[in-house]
């Protein structure tokens, strides 16, 4: 964690938002020694994320093809659009044939679909999940709500524009977009990946401070490390 980030955040994360389990405390060791625990420092890796530059261009092209043809989607439904995801896998739409598969763990997923309006509360989880995905990772945003807030544009607890918080690869307009649209989004994403333009992960790292500032602006009870490894 960089020093300025720390300074920035000290003001914003006030004590009342810091969850009890994340407050500094002491425990007694087996020999009676006092051990100081600072949960956010001790339990989490506080390294700053690193940009992973693409390798050799030709190899990268091949690898990008493989990445594009094997899109593992994190099974995380954020809003009303999540109802549109299961039909994708049904015989009618059969997303499998495009190399799309659902994974339960962000560690193994490369795509996260933000399916509709995103409450601040959910945003926090989305951020953690997104950050826990490994480097070539892509974001598909479904519905108007992720673009401009949609019908919740003046809601007190949803975000209006996902771009401020995560680097989005593909937006799918509509309220809600139908599964066909999502398939089209996958297609679009594949194209972007194959072209080597889907470097959202690196972008996120490069503009990390900006993203963090935005995120923390809306999420008061941060209670997480700055970057969720």
């Amino acid at each position: 964690m960089t020093e300025e980030l720390k300074d920035n955040n000290i003001e914003q994360v006030e004590d009342k938002f810091l969850a009890p389990e994340n407050r500094k405390h002491t425990v007694t060791g087996p020999e009676g020694e006092i051990i100081h625990v600072d949960p956010l420092q001790d339990y989490y890796c506080n390294e700053r994320p690193k940009a992973e530059d693409p390798r050799n261009k030709i190899v990268e092209k091949f690898l990008n093809w493989a990445r594009a043809e094997s899109l593992w989607v994190l099974g995380f439904g954020t809003g009303c659009g999540s109802i549109e995801i299961p039909p994708l896998l049904s015989p009618r739409f059969d997303a499998y044939r495009f190399g799309v598969a659902m994974r339960a763990t962000p560690r193994q997923s490369s795509v996260i679909i933000i399916s509709g309006y995103l409450a601040v509360k959910t945003l926090k989880r989305v951020i953690r999940s997104y950050e826990q995905m490994q480097n070539p990772k892509f974001v598909i945003a479904l519905g108007s709500c992720t673009i401009n807030g949609g019908m919740y544009w003046d809601s007190y607890n949803t975000i209006n524009r996902l771009d401020y918080y995560l680097p989005v690869d593909v937006y799918v307009a509509g309220c809600m977009p139908r599964p066909e649209a999502i398939l089209a989004a996958f297609d679009k994403l594949k194209t972007r990946i194959k072209e080597g333009r889907a470097e959202g992960a690196n972008e996120y790292v490069e503009k990390f401070d900006w993203y963090k500032a935005n995120q923390k602006k809306v999420i008061k009870n941060w209670n997480m490390p700055d970057y969720n490894w």
């Binding site: 690193k50 992973e52 091949f62 690898l63 493989a66 990445r67 043809e69 094997s70 593992w72 099974g75 015989p91 059969d94 499998y96 044939r97 190399g99 659902m102 994974r103 339960a104 763990t105 560690r107 193994q108 490369s110 490994q134 480097n135 070539p136 992960a201 490894w229």
Partner: protein, 302 residues
């Protein structure tokens, strides 16, 4: 030079097995998709997935065992391959089988499991541990019918050497253990269902309940290693069953055909039956399959 040649052939065999394993996985997925009236994945999707996983740019590690876990796992798979005679009558495809010791293979399966368990444990994720505890618990029950079957055929052939067991089945299709000792085969094939991790015995990896079980924290290269192992292990286990019960293989074609059908058996059952919970599957496995296995032994004692 002999040893170099041997290693060369072993690596070649490993390559064949890996490819066949990946292909077979793809084919099976395809079949599953067709059964559920989908087009399904591309046949080569497993290759793509493997490449993609190896191509993940960033890596995380929880500690030394997190590293060693996949190594153990892959060693388990490759080791079984190394100790398994693949093609009957062929010196070069017998690997380091020492005339193929059955017990060695049976116990070497634990090696990989242990590695996986340790690696996942080091990950620190509770779901990994839950998955492992389920997997191990179920594994104990899965192994019992297999043991009875192995004992039964060991009595039958008076040997613990896979090579000799295969040799004894040559000649006619009726010499296969499948026909000479159907009870043992029955018990073993039920246990095979469990070993393959398909439904009804796949609660270990219950996708949503405890994300994906043991490999929850694994990703990228680690996952690639695990997938590699999976591909190898499935083929090698099928080869084991083939050797024990289905007359072995005289050439690669025969091996491919037989392993395909053996593996298909588990996929078939998996498609038809729903999932057991662990506390259901253990008693079930300890009832019918064990009874069959006991019967298989009694037949030979009496």
């Amino acid at each position: 030079m002999d040893i170099v040649k041997k290693i060369g052939f072993v690596l070649l065999g490993l390559f064949i097995v890996l490819n066949w394993g990946l292909l077979m996985a793809g084919i099976m997925r395809k079949i599953i998709a067709r059964v559920s009236m989908r087009r399904g994945i591309k046949i080569f999707q497993p290759y793509i997935n493997l490449i993609k996983n190896y191509s993940i740019r960033s890596q995380l590690t929880h500690g030394i065992m997190f590293y060693l876990g996949p190594v153990f796992r892959l060693s388990g798979g490759v080791g079984i391959f190394l100790f398994m005679p693949m093609i009957y009558g062929s010196d070069i495809w017998n690997n380091f089988s020492f005339t193929g010791d059955l017990i060695l293979i049976a116990y070497f399966m634990f090696f990989g499991m242990l590695g996986m368990a340790l690696g996942a444990g080091e990950g620190g994720h509770p779901y990994s541990a839950i998955g492992i505890s389920r997997g191990l618990a179920q594994f104990t029950a899965i192994e019992l019918p297999l043991t009875l079957a192995i004992l039964s055929i060991a009595i039958q052939y008076q040997s613990l050497s896979i090579t000799e067991i295969v040799a004894a089945q040559q000649g006619s299709i009726l010499n296969w253990t499948l026909f000479t000792n159907p009870l043992a085969t029955g018990a073993a094939m039920i246990s095979f269902l469990g070993a393959m991790g398909h439904s009804p015995f796949n609660v270990v990896m219950a996708p949503q309940e405890n994300p994906v079980g043991p490999p929850t924290e694994y990703h990228g290269t680690f996952l690639g290693v695990l997938q590699t192992n999976r591909a190898i292990l499935h083929v090698v286990e099928a080869v084991l069953y083939m050797n024990l019960f289905f007359g072995g293989a005289n050439n690669w074609i025969e091996l491919i055909v037989k392993t395909f059908f053996i593996y298909f058996w588990s996929v078939f059952v998996g498609m038809v039956f729903p999932r057991f919970r662990v506390d259901q599957s253990i008693p079930w496995l300890l009832k019918l399959p064990v009874l069959i296995g006991v019967a298989a032994i009694i037949v030979f004692i009496v």
